[in-house]
Amino acid sequence: MEDAHTETSADYIVHHLTNLHVGEGFWTFHLDSIFYAVILGFLFCGSFFMAARRASAGVPSGWQNFVELIVEFVDTQVKDSFHGSSRLIAPLSLTIFCWIFLMNFMDLVPVDLLPAIGEAAGIEYMKVVPTTDLNTTFGMSFGVFILIIFYSIKIKGTAGFLKEIFLKPFGKWFFPFNFMLKIVEELAKPISLALRLFGNLYAGELIFILIALFTLSASADSIGQVFANLADPGSFGLLIMQILLGLVWTLFHIVIITLQAFIFMMLTIVYLGMAHEEH
């Protein structure tokens, strides 16, 4: 975005959707995704740890109250849909919910704010929403997938797990079909988890970018030019449109980011619950 006047809409969009990366091929690191994911992870852990350290059996107040509200909420969800006993699943759900919510929340930060700051600091590309990066969403969903496999084997035993893979649902004479079906069934879980989250957030981000396009051509180099642009009825109308649409989409998006975090958490609980049950 060195020269806003010559930048086309396509350039702007592509620029916004490119990660800051180092490395080649498979060994490419998306530094911005990792950076924001880690920072937000720290934010989650740090803020919750503050409440946890001061947690007492006395009357809770302020932040501790809020943290306990979320913990209670997650705990209720887990108890409602998961009937085994596990030390892992409730903390896992809490982590998923809070971390995804925070990463999604980056979507509500004005699209150009952080990239512009980064640019001023010499960072060329920046995607601030880690959940619009497939690597992040798949990272989480594969983590969940590994846990599903782990618990399936742990609860049913290796033999039981193999039996379930090869002998269900059609009996032993169709074991290749059973196996293929099972593979599809199991793989569908992490893939759907990751793609659902990614798709929603990517689309949301894209719409924010498109809304930002309204006044892209009216970019100004000086304060005087800003006022000159505002005097022009056409640009003024576009500005109003952008503000209105941005507001509406932001309000709507608050629901989406919370919902997506919740869905990811709920499905994780359900999948792990299924892994715990004998068929």
Binding site: A57, P60, V67, L94, W99, N135, F142, G143
Partner: protein, 156 residues
Amino acid sequence: MSINVTLIVQMFVFALLVWFTMSYLWPMIRQAMEEREKRIADGLAAAEQGQGSLLKAETRADEIVEKARVKARDIVEQAGSQANDIVSGAREESEQERQRRLESAQAEIKVEINRARDELRGQVAMIAVAGAQKVLEREIDSETHRDLLDRLASEI
């Protein structure tokens, strides 16, 4: 938009976060919450128990007050009857005393009357003798006619 090593990094970050939450955050927060839950439950139970014992104490207090009231009434009644007894006893006694005094006074009066009568009799006899002496002029000697005079006196 491609899958690359970032995925591994994000998985690692995710695992780290989950580990931290599971080891520290969750147990700490849950423990505080459970402790509070227990404390609240204990408090409620204690309150209920307190209310129960208060009710019991109230009934007991009522019973005691009722008993005291009955006792007080008994005492008052007893005192009343005792007072009546005392008053009636005193009345009887004073009546008896009065009777006794009356009787002794009457007896004394009777004795006095008898004495006076005897005296009078003697004097009447003497007067009679003196009169007779006057009439008879020495004809009758008081010494010689004593038995006659005594008979006269006892007839009066």
